[in-house]
């Protein structure tokens, strides 16, 4: 079993990239590898209870539901959250310090910045 970490760093609106990063993360569990998703920099907005459907953009609701169901670790960088004044996260996303962001990265066999 490998450890795989996916790092989501960019703004989630006007692009499907972040939703695709999450869909890919679901896919990466299919060979029993352990997948962790890290949200940092502007990527933390992806893990907030925003309502992009108001501007006609599909939120990655299903991707989060399945990642939670598959018990993947979903980590948001506290420093990135603080800089942006974000205080609320989606259920199952855990706000963690940099040390806890570095840990899964250094322990992973594969790191995919997306």
């Amino acid at each position: 079993m490998k450890k795989i970490t996916v790092v989501v760093r960019n703004l989630p609106l006007n692009t499907r990239r972040n939703a695709e990063a999450l869909r890919m993360s679901v896919g990466l569990t299919l060979r029993e590898d352990k997948v962790t998703v890290i949200f940092m920099d502007d990527g933390v907005y992806t893990a907030t209870p925003a309502r992009p459907e108001i501007i006609g953009f599909q939120p990655p609701k299903k991707e989060f539901e399945v990642l939670s169901m598959l018990k993947c670790s979903l980590l948001a960088d506290v420093l990135s959250l603080g800089k942006r004044g974000i205080t609320t996260l989606l259920p199952d996303v855990k706000a963690v310090n940099r040390e806890d962001i570095v840990k899964p990265i250094t322990e992973s066999d594969i790191v995919i910045p997306f």
Partner: protein, 100 residues
């Protein structure tokens, strides 16, 4: 050695030429190379130099959902697969590089 590559950008991005160069060199050195294309990366199947990697013995698989969304046609020798194929590449390779 088995090398896995993920490419998520379209052929206009310089990533494409890097992936072609690395894959070609790795094959010349006798390594196995498997590439997975998803998101805008699926457009690379239409780039001649990229698709020719198949003739050099590179395994290429694409995400069929992204292909369908972008109306990209099938190309012989390239597997119109799924995220499961990506999981297999990630699970089976010795080294994995991501280009996004």
């Amino acid at each position: 050695m088995k090398l896995g590559i993920l490419l998520t950008t379209s052929p206009e991005n310089e990533n494409t030429n890097t992936v072609i160069a690395i894959s070609t060199a790795a094959r010349k050195a006798g390594h196995e190379v498997s590439i997975f294309l998803m998101y805008d990366g699926v457009y690379n199947v239409n780039k001649k130099d990229f698709a020719e990697l198949v003739d050099k013995g590179v395994n290429i698989a694409v995400c069929a959902l992204n292909v369908e969304q972008r109306k990209v046609g099938r190309v012989e020798g390239i597997l119109f697969g799924s995220q499961y194929d990506h999981a297999c590449i990630a699970a089976d390779v010795d080294r994995f590089i991501s280009f996004g």
